[in-house]
Amino acid sequence: MRNPWAQTGNYRTSYVQDTTIFANYREILSVVLLLVALCILPMFLERSQVLVLNFILIYAIAVLGLNITTGYAGLISVGQAAFMGVGAYTVALSAPNLPFWLTIPLGGLTAAIIGFIVGIPSLRVKHLYLALATLAFQEIFVWVVGRSPALAQGAAIPVEMRNFLGLEIGFRNHNYFWYYVILFVLVLMVMAWRNLLRGKYGRALIAVRDNDRAADAMGMDPGRTKLFAFALGAFYGGIAGGLLAYMQRAVVVEEFTLGRSVALLAMAIVGGLGTVVGSLLGPAFIEFLRLYMERLSEWMKSNAFIQSITPAGVDVASALLPLSFGLVIVLFLVFEPRGLYNWWRLLRSYFRTWPFKY
């Protein structure tokens, strides 16, 4: 038998080997190292920097869900933020009576039920038509929340958790506590995602995406598979929304509008559709882009020389952020449609085959 630590290629000889979660031991080792690094990372960061990480990890969970619906099953969804909202509002309503480890899955389940219902049009329509159906759900969600007295008509509903197993949670440790909770949930969700995709349900998603009539001919049920994809993608969104509610200490409808749904789609595209690594890289890239563009914009505004050469009445600095956001998406679509994941794949491939080129 070959030394499993020095594996240089794909030597799988059975179906069981082909469906393992990790391809080889090196992959397991790299995941363990990554997790250790993520666990100790907050020790080197300020509270507000941990907050940025929390946003990235929460969006990563939502993008993972979107990658099931859109990336794997090929069903375009422009309503992922609304599914997050369903999870967040479920948490807000149930938090006074239930512990957080029950409210968050409850938020996910509620979102999954709504996702199942929203997915019904996918039984009849495809592509742009389906995108419009999900867009309609996104708008209906905002409309309903904004008119429900029980949901404070879209204004804030406080979601506070000040104590967990005797540990007092407050300003000093709030972001750190939720970082570890979110990281734990993210690891669980990633494992479930990987596990799903090596089984028959995951493969059915791919088959239906590639050709639903062929999948039907092979004995799969495309309708059931599409509804499953919507429900599962929404479940991930609901979990992300629930975590966001606790982390932000309150739920406000502005967090779950069409703009956020589009941003999640952008994260999925930039990261690489249908990939776990892309689901993590996309949110990180977009959030850091936002941060650095903000810094650049502030620097430009405070720099007298730049201000003196800018035409009067044109605020170039303020336009930088939306400009960069749009430009990045267009550039990725044109030059790297497989997203950042592809760069990661090439890098890995380089080190795996080093010193040889191929």
Partner: protein, 402 residues
């Protein structure tokens, strides 16, 4: 000898620290993104007043480090900017902006005991829970709408009114208070419509309100959507039939610029003085706009006045904190100074109108509205002119806590 040298060095160090002491003030708001037409001038007002405060040494021995950040009207950005400030340069006071972000930050603001003056005048910000450290510089949107209803009642009993509000928490907040006020005044709220920024044709809206016999439309929105409705009303010939009016962010120079002559006759509830009035605050506004090369649009904007008022309250609270607590300026002493800003200690910078008692800005632990006086102004000949004396809504406090 050694001891004398050490003591001398400590004293010099203390003196040097006292001389170069810096106090932080933070504002984050929409310089870009939605509502930046309000946020831009508001932020400029804060920036300019801070520069002026440092130049004039309004807080003796203290340099004000005024940070103005653009949150693009996005709540996660506001949260991050606020927490960054708490980590790096704990501000003595926070000047906030949007309704949603401020509502979301309320629990954190209360926990870190940070006195906060938001630009939003949503009543929920000063309603419990977690409201201890939130203060509105001027009267709430709800109070302004109720005051407009009281104004209608002066000449027209049993009026038929429609509310046109923004589809957001800040727009909707006034509806319940307006309904309760209408009940007490004998008026009827015929319809409540939500109108956002994409209202390019309001024919159906106006025809429906006209058919329902609406005599007055009260807006709780920003200037853009209101201007579109005014222009459509003029086009349909309904401008003489239905009187339109609105709360603070609906009016001002932005509305005149956007609606042109269709704005004529629009009634606006505002606590601020206009640029034509000769008050210390307005004179300062003109002086600072000229000194810091601000455009005519910014100078003419009420939001520039509003930003200056917020910064002026913060600077005054810091100055009083330093006087009262042996030079200590932090969130705790500033809070104490702020809630002591009443009675003979009320603040009168001349940006907002005074109540009948002659008080411009006052706060207590439980009364968290600064300028409680307001006037109704009417758009005439391309500018707003006051049509009432300053008054305070008599009914609002009854309908707020029925």
């Amino acid at each position: 000898m050694k001891r004398a040298i050490v003591l001398g060095m400590v004293a010099m160090l203390g003196l040097a620290m006292a001389q170069g002491r810096t106090v932080n003030l933070l504002w984050s708001g929409a310089v870009t993104g939605p509502t930046s037409d309000v946020g831009g001038p508001y932020g400029a007002g804060i920036e300019d007043y801070c520069k002026y405060a440092n130049e004039q040494k309004l807080i003796p021995g203290v340099t004000l480090n005024c940070t103005v950040r653009d949150d693009q009207y996005q709540n996660p950005n506001t949260q991050r900017i606020f927490e960054e400030a708490l980590d790096r340069a704990k501000p003595a006071m926070y000047l906030g902006y949007s309704t949603g972000a401020m509502l979301q930050l309320k629990p954190l603001i209360n926990e870190v005991k940070m006195p906060t003056l938001p630009a939003s005048a949503h009543i929920g910000l000063i309603d419990p829970p977690n409201n201890q450290y939130m203060f509105l510089p001027v009267s709430s949107y709800s109070e302004q709408v109720v005051a407009l209803m009281e104004y209608i009642n002066r000449t027209d009993k049993n009026a038929k009114i429609a509310l046109v509000v923004n589809p957001s928490p800040f727009g909707r907040a006034v509806v319940d208070h307006a309904r309760r006020a209408a009940q007490r005044l004998g008026q009827s709220i015929v319809d409540v419509r939500e109108v956002g920024g994409g209202n390019l044709d309001n024919t159906a809206l106006l025809r429906a309100l006209d058919a329902a016999g609406v005599q007055y439309i009260i807006h709780q929105n920003v200037a853009g959507p209101v201007a579109n409705i005014l222009k459509d009303a003029k086009r349909l010939g309904l401008d003489k039939k239905i009187k339109q009016m609105g709360a603070v962010y609906t009016g001002g120079s932005d509305l005149i610029r956007l609606a042109g002559d269709a704005a004529e006759g629009f009634l606006w509830a505002s606590s601020y003085y206009t640029l034509d009035e000769n008050t210390p605050g307005i004179a300062l506004q003109k002086q600072l706009a000229a000194r810091y090369n601000r455009s005519a649009d910014i100078l003419n904007s009420t939001n520039y006045t509003a930003g200056m008022l917020a910064a002026a309250i913060a600077v005054e609270a810091m100055k009083r904190a330093a006087q009262r607590f042996n030079g200590r300026i932090d969130n705790e002493t500033v809070y104490q100074a702020l809630i002591g800003m009443n009675g003979p200690n009320a603040f009168k910078p001349g940006f907002a109108v005074s109540t009948k008692a002659g008080i411009e800005i006052d706060f207590t632990r439980s009364e968290q509205t600064g300028a409680e006086g307001l006037r109704v102004l009417e758009a005439r000949g391309g500018k707003f002119v006051p049509v009432t004396d300053p008054f305070t809504s008599a009914l609002f406090r009854q309908v707020r806590n029925p």
